[in-house]
């Protein structure tokens, strides 16, 4: 049953490429349907445990896939953000040919991400990480405008370095454990003769995955990649693609497969704190909306890495919850940026200043997203940050908890400045003569509203059911 998450999108990919006319026209609808089914399946797993069903093609293929609560949260996130990206693409990409390519590449990216969260073998994990990377390169290069070249190339080069690190780590694991599944690697950590090789391997993996996740000081490619890509691709990249292939793999490997000792934990904590501070400070000085959101992304990822370095079950649960929340509110903010770009033709905050009052839906949902990012109760961002800071306090790392709190204040600062400049003050100037001021389409508005509702509801519901959500997540941590 689990392999269907990979095989059904693959089948849909083949079907979409058949030369039949009405399938091509309905491509967006079909893929949207598939992603909705994925969201429903992830939500309803506790009522209807479909993972216990045997594999459909079990006699032909042996896939070693497994599902636990972390995987379910990730599947839900992937489905939601991919669906939102699809809706944004349906509104913003005009040419017929590009729309078709986008749908196909989105399917390939979703296949890769689903497989990343389902596999239990480290080399298969690498194969699907590469699939997500390659489809991201091609997606960034989709509209082939001048500025995308540099973004793609920088991303390519840094991704190549990450590949080399990860593969060297895999070779060391082969040496130490003889087999590459998660269970054998975990049991190899208990063998004292292998400890040096395993330390080297874990550090190599750490470097490679930090590059993939965009953690400072390896964050050089994040800026150009998010900036240069078309709007719907930014939503997909920022929300899920780079996060699943970087941060989820870190959570899975350093949470339940590797056994890390204190020096490595300190390095992770330091990298997390560095990212938070760097992202927050850099976002204060930005003039362009997408750049500010990209630096904010780096900052939020820093929170997750900080929680990972703390290495207690509570911190881990907070990290996963913050991952989900970040995917939701960051996608919301990027969708708003796409709406602004479509209406006014640019994302430069100087040009957009004072014009946002013409788009009330975007303004209100943007306010929700901003408050959630900054961690204002009772929105969801507040709860996940609270859990992370509590976990840091309870394990004695007061300095890091203080840094996290202060950065939260900084986040609030720069986001409120952005909100006020664009949406809350009315400019007396005429709308600048930017080409093609189109009206915001209904689909974009619908996706913004639904993401904002998810943020609010998650925050409100969380007050009543902490036990239902946090305890199962804690159980994954060894």
């Amino acid at each position: 049953m689990l392999s269907l998450f990979i095989l059904i999108p693959l089948l849909l990919l083949f079907i979409l490429n058949l030369p039949v006319k009405f399938i091509r026209q309905g491509a967006f609808g079909l893929v949207g349907l598939l992603l909705s089914v994925q969201i429903l399946a992830a939500l309803l797993h506790s009522l209807f445990p479909w993972s216990a069903f045997p594999e459909i093609l079990g006699s032909f293929f042996i896939f070693s896939l497994a599902v636990d609560n972390l995987t379910l949260v990730m599947l839900l996130t992937i489905g939601t953000v991919a669906l939102v990206s699809l809706i944004v693409a349906a509104s913003t990409i005009g040419q017929e040919r590009l729309r078709f390519y986008f749908v196909n590449l989105l399917l390939i990216c979703v296949i890769g991400m689903n497989a990343i969260v389902l596999v239990r073998d480290i080399f298969s994990l690498y194969v699907f990480i590469e699939i997500v990377s390659v489809s991201s390169f091609i997606l960034i290069a989709l509209e082939r405008n001048k500025s995308a070249i540099e973004g793609t190339f920088k991303y390519l080069m840094l991704s190549a370095m990450a590949t080399v690190f990860i593969l060297s780590g895999i070779a060391c694991f082969l040496l130490a454990a003889g087999d590459l599944s998660f269970v054998s690697i975990h049991s190899a950590f208990y063998d004292p003769a292998a400890s040096f090789i395993l330390k080297v391997a874990a550090s190599l993996f750490l470097c490679g995955l930090f590059i993939k996740a965009g953690v400072a000081p390896f964050h050089g490619w994040v800026m150009d990649a998010y900036l240069a890509s078309p709007a719907s691709v930014s939503v997909l990249l920022a929300g899920v693609a780079t996060k699943i292939s970087g941060v989820y793999v870190l959570l899975r490997l350093f949470g339940s497969v590797f056994i890390v000792n204190a020096p490595l934990q300190n390095i992770i904590l330091f990298a997390g704190a560095f990212s938070i501070v760097l992202g927050a400070l850099a976002a204060l000085t930005q003039d362009d909306l997408k750049r500010m959101l990209a630096y904010s992304s780096i900052s939020q990822i820093g929170y997750i890495i900080l929680a990972l370095g703390c290495a207690t079950p509570l911190a881990f649960a907070g990290a996963v919850f913050h991952f989900f929340n970040h995917a939701i509110f960051k996608s919301l903010l990027f969708v708003n940026a796409a709406a602004l770009e479509k209406r006014f033709g640019s994302t430069d905050m100087n040009k957009l200043a004072g014009q946002g009052y013409k788009m009330p839906v975007t303004g209100i949902t943007s306010l929700m997203g901003v408050l959630s990012t900054a961690g204002i109760p009772p929105l969801s961002g507040f709860w996940s940050k609270l859990i992370i800071i509590l976990a840091l306090f309870s394990s004695g790392r007061f300095v890091y908890a203080g840094i996290a709190l202060l950065a939260s204040v900084l986040t609030l600062a720069y986001f409120l400045v952005f909100q006020r400049r664009i949406f809350f003050c009315k400019s007396e100037l005429q709308e600048p003569a930017l080409e093609n001021p189109g009206k915001i389409s209904r689909a974009l508005g619908f996706s913004e509203i639904s993401l904002a509702i998810i943020t609010v509801v998650t925050g409100a519901v969380f007050v009543f059911m902490p036990g239902n959500w946090i305890m199962p997540l804690k159980g994954i941590f060894w």
Partner: protein, 106 residues
């Protein structure tokens, strides 16, 4: 693990590290996008040698070969896509010099 196997691994290890340095140098210090790809190729070759050597030393040659075969397929696709990006850069900027790709400031 026998001493001679460890010796072999370390000898190969020295050469692999030298090859990695060569590839990385080529990738980051070059005037031509195609040479960046050649540098990436050399890096991947070094890692391939590392995997095969690790497999030989611990006796798992079959698994190592399976990994390398899959890795070569992945590497081809990444190379083709990177070549495509280099070509597209050439057609837009009329040059394949990575120092001139500075359309994005900051």
């Amino acid at each position: 693990m026998s001493q001679s196997a460890l010796q072999l691994f370390c000898t190969f290890g020295i050469f692999i590290i030298l090859l990695l340095i060569t590839g990385a140098y080529c990738m980051f210090v070059s005037f031509n996008l195609i040479r960046v790809l050649i540098g990436f190729e050399i890096l991947i070759k070094a890692v391939t040698l590392l995997i095969i050597c690790a497999g030989y030393v611990c006796g798992r040659t079959a698994l190592a070969q399976a990994i390398v075969i899959t890795l070569i397929v992945i590497e081809i696709v990444v190379m083709v896509v990177a070549g495509g990006v280099a070509l597209w850069a050439y057609r837009h900027n009329k040059t394949i010099d990575p120092r001139k790709l500075s359309n994005l400031k900051g």
